[in-house]
Amino acid sequence: MRRLPVYFLLDTSGSMNGTSIVALNNSLSEMIGTLRQDPQAIESVWISIITFDIESKIIIPLSSIDSFQLPEITCPSSGPTHTGEALSLLFKIVNTDIKKGSMTEKGDWKPLLFLFTDGSPSDKQLYREMTPKIKALNFGIIVGCAAGSLSDDAMLKELCDHVVHLDTADASTLKQFFKWVSETIDHGNKSMGTGDKVGIPPPPNDINLVI
């Protein structure tokens, strides 16, 4: 079966500590639950989750969505946001994860990347170094999600095709965001218009698409 790999890069730096990390855990598990109610997604979607604060960790290696248990995501009480390092780890695993089409094996769909952060990269130089490399990986879509007033939309724009801005990382906003993510993941399986190319559904009200 052809896989649709979906990567999540989640900011677990100190500023997420408290209600935000709880909201993130809840919304993420709700999103996985929604995808597990969708037969197309169960058949094709594979998910990988990387968290980053002072260090980057693969908490879910690329797995089909009916095959893993979501661990609780935790964060330190303070510390930097090493987004660049997370991209560097992503670069490494995407290159080994993604299957190219061959005579004996079907190639994967273009992978999707969702990057969630509530701050700006502490390792700006590495971030800027990795940006063109990540872009060259041929992602189907790269969505950046900036939550709260401290996040840096402009930095995200350098990497992402779409940047959405959440005013707060509270439970209801995150829930809406991840609902929209699951719709974006499922978008390719729905009716296609006569004119348009496959894109993303418009975000809900509380989410502002940064142009």
Partner: protein, 509 residues
């Protein structure tokens, strides 16, 4: 915070509808956002894109003219169950929406997954029943057995879908987006509901605004996708593309695999979306093509699931010929002759009739634990279940039907009835003027007799036939009497106009 919003019909401004707005839609389709009414008896589905004059006119016509034409007549009640037909068009600010009644409760999972309750209450989108992933015992996403029905359920479901499409086409309309997303099915009650009717295409009057859903888009639509929409060579959904989607649906519900997905490799360094476009478009090839086997690279198609999905990924064990001769012929027409020749594709009415005739060839598997429970008689002397290989353990009487073309000249009907203990004989077997469609009355559906294995003999018991004659012995069989079935025996089932003769043979002795 949720609020209740009132919207007004654009057809009759006295008509108001309400929906609950929780800040975001309850569901989102490819084109529409969906909100439930307070009592959940209907939904308001708003189009995300602005609707032009033509689209609004089309919607108006669907909820008025076509609504009346479809439902305000004797077979209307049957079709009302089969479609989720929009009943009104509303406007709120600049957004256009439609009012669609919610579907029957049988289209929501009562149990869902076998292992947990995560699916309970979700709608039974057809996809759940079109892949081995949701039924093989080794799968974590297996549906509960109580949700799956048996193999025969899917023939009946196919009949219902075919009828729904037939009725649209008879009115000159194309659905334009048939897919397992837009057809809900319930294997328990053996019913189907066709949804997303609002995309109906009226040839020449209202052009389509969707090209369809992946897996169901016809080859000619995909292979001309690069052309401008005004280009005369660009192909868009119409009645012929519906016929393709219908054939794909029926194939998938019966064999749980896609008829064009065989893992064919087109060479070179090709992106996934380009490969799919070729495999479903200009280079589409039936996975079971009898001579061109280049699309039978199932290891490539299914990868690790090749073993897990047995027997459905084994074309030798479950070839489409296990569906019997009538369906084989139609699949040949749809996926070999008609795949790239839209005019050759079988119409919906032929699928309806072929599915019904095929159900007359059914046999119950002798293994009570067989997953499929039923199979189709394969016309050999070694009858066994193709799914679990269990040998069928009794002899099988077969009635081949003939009709009188001119006095004394009998011609075969290409229709037969395979008999097991308890098979019933129906009016549509004995009288060629009775056609098995949605217009059959309850009286026409009551059996005219039944078959039984009685005192070590196969017999037919006459319940309603007034002029049944055992022609071989020239003896009249009155109502309440029985006649033994022996090889070569001829029964005149009715002497009236359209009455058939049955010639009996005994197989699997």
């Amino acid at each position: 915070m949720s609020s209740t919003v009132t919207v007004t019909s654009i057809i009759d401004t006295n008509k108001k509808y309400q929906y609950i707005d929780k800040g975001s839609p309850s569901a989102a389709g490819g084109m529409k956002d969906i909100y439930f009414s307070p009592d959940k008896s209907y939904v308001v589905a708003f189009y995300r894109a602005a609707q032009d004059f033509n689209s609004i006119e089309r919607l108006k016509k669907i909820v008025t003219t076509y609504f009346d034409r479809f439902f305000n007549n004797p077979s209307g009640a049957y079709y009302k169950e089969l479609y989720s037909w929009p009943i009104d068009v509303v406007k709120l600010d600049n957004r256009i929406g439609i009012i669609v009644p919610c579907y029957n409760s049988n289209f929501f999972f009562k149990k869902g997954y076998a292992l947990n309750d995560a699916l309970k209450g979700q709608d039974k989108e057809g996809k759940w029943f079109a892949s081995p992933l949701f039924r093989v015992s080794s799968s974590k996403s297996k549906l509960d057995e109580s949700e799956l029905g048996n193999w025969l359920s899917y023939f009946q479901i196919g009949v219902n879908i075919a009828r729904g499409v037939k009725r649209l086409h008879a009115a000159g309309l194309a659905h334009s987006d048939l897919s397992y997303k837009n057809v809900l099915i319930d294997p328990v009650s053996k019913t189907a509901a066709i949804i997303d009717i609002d995309g109906l295409v009226v040839p020449g009057l209202f052009p389509p605004d969707v090209i369809g859903t992946p897996d169901f888009i016809a080859p000619e639509v995909l292979s001309t996708l690069h052309l401008n929409i005004k280009d005369p060579n660009r192909k868009l959904p119409n009645i012929q593309t519906d016929k393709h989607a219908l054939a794909v649906l029926i194939y998938m519900y019966l064999l749980y695999r896609h008829p064009l997905k065989g893992g064919k490799f087109f060479g070179g360094d090709i992106e996934a979306d380009e490969e799919v476009k070729l495999a479903m478009g200009s280079k589409a090839l039936f996975v079971e093509h009898p001579t061109d086997k280049s699309n039978q690279n199932l290891k490539r198609e299914y990868g690790d699931n090749l073993q897990k999905f047995q027997p459905w990924t084994n074309l030798t064990k479950t070839p489409y010929t296990i569906l019997g001769p009538y369906l084989k012929e139609l699949f040949d027409q749809a996926f070999i002759k008609g795949l790239h020749n839209p005019n050759e594709r079988p119409p919906a009415s032929m699928w309806e009739q072929a599915l019904i005739k095929t159900m007359d060839l059914k046999l119950q598997c002798a293994n009570s634990r067989c997953d499929q429970k039923w199979f189709i008689y394969n016309d050999t002397n070694n009858t066994s279940c193709p799914f679990c290989n269990t040998r069928y353990n009794t002899s099988i009487p077969i009635l081949d039907f003939y009709f009188q073309q001119s006095p004394g000249k009998w011609k075969p009907e290409n229709q037969r009835l395979v008999v097991y203990n308890g098979t019933t004989l129906q009016l549509w077997h004995t009288d060629r003027n009775v056609i098995t469609n949605e217009n059959l009355t309850a009286a026409q559906k009551t059996p005219v007799g039944y078959f039984s294995f009685f005192n070590n003999k196969w017999v037919f018991v006459n319940q309603k036939l007034t002029s049944l004659v055992d022609k071989s012995e020239n003896k009249e069989i009155k109502i309440g009497e029985m006649v033994e079935l022996t090889s070569g025996k001829q029964l005149i089932l009715s002497k009236e106009d359209g009455g058939r003769v049955a010639v009996i043979s005994i197989a699997n002795k």
